[in-house]
């Protein structure tokens, strides 16, 4: 059975955008251990065509500052009161997983509600897709993750 993975990448090489920054997602179709690029999905464009308004990067009082974990990303959940966040999300509902550099908790929850996994990672698109498809392929086929061969 095939499934789709949405990836936030400006150059299609590195996972370099946060969920909030990404206006378009590269959609890959995966089956077993293989995957290929299906399309580039411009979610902002789609949203505006359908009249879904949503504001990008509305601050919620959370400035960048030093933390014990390195520099904090500006955190805003990407929506004012009224819950605009899901606007771009709903164009990803057909995906099994979303991959981006960072992803806000609000968005995570929205995704989880739809049983979509999310992976906030900083690596190449290839590495991410290899690892994710490896994982799903193993688990779906009831094969242990133990033996990497």
């Amino acid at each position: 059975m095939s499934y789709k993975i949405a990836v936030a990448s400006s150059d299609e090489i590195n996972i370099d955008e946060t969920f909030g920054q990404a206006n378009r997602f590269i959609i890959y179709e995966a089956k077993g251990k293989n995957y290929n690029k299906l399309e580039i999905r411009d979610v902002v464009d789609k949203a505006s065509q359908e009249g879904d308004s949503f504001e990008v990067e509305i601050k919620t009082g959370c400035e960048k500052k030093e933390s014990g974990c390195g520099i904090k990303e500006g955190c805003g959940s990407g929506g004012g009161c009224g819950g605009a966040v899901p606007a771009k999300l709903k164009y990803l509902y057909d995906c099994r997983a979303v991959v981006c550099k960072k992803i806000g908790t609000q968005v995570q929850k929205q995704l989880e509600k739809k049983a979509i996994s999310y992976f906030d990672v900083t690596c190449t698109v290839k590495e991410a897709l290899d690892k994710i498809t490896f994982y799903y392929n193993r688990i779906d086929n009831h094969i242990s993750l133990r033996d990497k061969s």
């Binding site: 946060t18 919620t60 974990c69 990303e73 819950g83 992803i103 908790t105 609000q106 995570q108 242990s144």
Partner: protein
């Protein structure tokens, strides 16, 4: 949202109702952001250990009488079986019944992680059924079985025709959620999907979800006056009893976190109303809760009469003790089902809450509402510093060190000791009925007073021990390790 009872998998609490485990700010801000949908949840880049969802799930299920739990995983996962054995025996003895529930492990080893062990699991299920003839069987997974792709659903489906009692797979992969309270939902899901039957007739019973039924006799008394009979869940429940809970007039719970999945499930599937008030803790909580039960079961008159009688006895005593508690400052750390409830009671008793930590926070309960406990505080203009800390002791210690409150209240094992080492008197709100109704509210106030008035134990200890954190840590802001997720 709709519950899907056909699947053995429950979505994690994080995904269904949007829980978070990291937040620091004030109560009003938390509520505002929660209602706006703008609440930012944060993760930590440093954390201390907390709880596994399987402990919550199996702790609940294993309290049911005469059932079997088969925990498929390494011996550490099923180690709770030892505590369960003890608890089941002593709880049954207290109630004057017997409980022959068995909780076994499968002692999964290295080989199993490579080749799987579905066949062994199958044999184990058959053998447990042969040895003990349980009334229901729950087969549960662990982190290890999850990531080796063990197909427990198929094994369970496969043996179902060889076993003549309900058998169901219970998914307990700990890595799937940081919200351990999801385990409560998992247990409710298992009960709803495998044991509860559609109603045949309505009965004047009320489902009462709790932990260890310590207030059972007095609740039976209260409800007798209302011509209602409580069914306590799941401690000492029988499978037969559970199969009929759809026939009750209503479902209520001592703790929202514990009960909301079952309550909503029964309401959604069988039309059993779920009492969604603030919890019956403290005066306001108890009265609000009881009046709602009266309304839902059409017994308002009897409820008012009862309240009037009890008020006459207890309110003067509570008022008297309030005088002595005035001006005390408290910090508390509990699960979300209790933090905001206990904060309200403290406020009622005149104790100032300077900081409240909730181990996690459910933005919306199952039916989509903001938790009633919080709504109540906001309506009554009660505000204080609040954080969501998932049992992060180092954050608690930092707060205690900075605020030096008169009192720390906690509800989780192993947490109070750290407060007293700091020299702060601690009250362990262990029993879920410790603040229930007028009588226990009075007892609770007295317990606080007694703790404050004799601080010998904590001062003696605090003088002799060193705290385990560096001076560096005490100088940091409490949110040092909160990593805000980028948008």
């Amino acid at each position: 949202m709709a519950l899907n009872l056909d699947s053995s998998n429950v979505g994690t609490r994080e995904n269904r109702i949007g829980s978070i485990t990291g937040y620091i700010g004030s109560l009003s801000d938390l509520a505002k952001q929660s209602q706006c949908g703008t609440l930012k949840g944060c993760s930590r880049c440093f954390s201390q250990s907390s709880t596994c969802l399987s402990s919550c799930a199996l702790g609940q299920l294993s309290a049911i009488r005469d059932i079997a739990i088969i925990h498929h995983g390494p011996a550490g996962c099923s180690v709770a079986s030892a505590g369960t054995y003890y608890l089941d025996k002593v709880m049954a003895k207290k109630r004057g019944v017997t409980n022959n529930t068995v909780y076994v492990g499968t002692d999964m080893n290295e080989n199993d992680t490579i080749f799987g062990s579905a066949e062994s699991l199958r044999e184990i299920i058959i053998e447990v059924n042969r040895r003990y003839s349980p009334k229901a069987i729950f087969v549960t997974s662990s982190c290890a079985t999850g990531i080796i792709g063990e197909d427990i659903d198929s094994v369970v489906d496969d043996v179902r025709n060889e076993i003549d009692v309900p058998i169901t797979a219970v998914h307990c992969e700990g890595f799937k959620s940081r919200i351990w309270a999801t385990g409560f939902d998992i247990s409710d899901h298992a009960v709803l999907s495998s044991i509860v039957k559609p109603p045949e007739k309505k009965r004047n019973t009320i489902n009462f979800k709790n932990f260890y039924e310590s207030a059972r006799p007095e609740i039976i008394e209260i409800f007798k006056k209302l011509d209602l009979e409580p069914i306590f869940l799941y401690c000492n429940s029988t499978v037969e009893e559970l199969s009929h809970i759809s026939e009750s007039l209503a479902t209520t719970c001592i703790c929202g976190t514990l009960g909301n999945y079952l309550g909503n499930g029964l309401e959604e599937k069988y039309g059993v109303p779920y009492i969604r008030t603030i919890n019956p803790l403290g005066v306001a909580g108890f009265e609000t809760w009881l009046r709602e039960i009266g309304r839902v079961t059409e017994r308002s008159e009897a409820v008012e009469k009862y309240i009037e009688e009890q008020r006459a006895i207890y309110i003067p005593q509570i008022e008297a003790i309030k005088e002595k508690l005035k001006g005390l400052r408290a910090v508390l750390g509990m699960g979300p089902g209790y933090t905001f409830e206990v904060s309200r009671v403290l406020n009622e008793l005149g104790v100032e809450v300077v900081w409240a930590l909730a181990w996690h926070y459910d933005k919306k309960y199952e039916n989509g509402d903001v938790p009633p406990s919080m709504e109540y505080l906001l309506e009554n203009d009660v505000d204080f510093e609040a954080s969501v800390a998932d049992q992060q002791n180092y954050e608690v210690m930092n707060i205690l060190h900075k605020y030096q409150p008169d009192l720390y209240l906690s509800r989780h094992p192993g947490s109070t000791v750290w407060a007293i080492k700091n020299g702060t008197p601690a009250v362990y709100v262990a029993d879920e009925y410790m603040i229930f109704g007028y009588k226990h509210t009075l007892e609770f106030a007295q317990a606080i007073l007694d703790s404050i008035n004799n601080r010998s134990f904590e001062t003696n200890l605090a003088r002799r021990v060193k705290l385990p954190y560096t001076d560096w840590w005490y100088e940091q802001n409490v949110d040092k390790f909160l990593e805000e997720a980028g948008k």
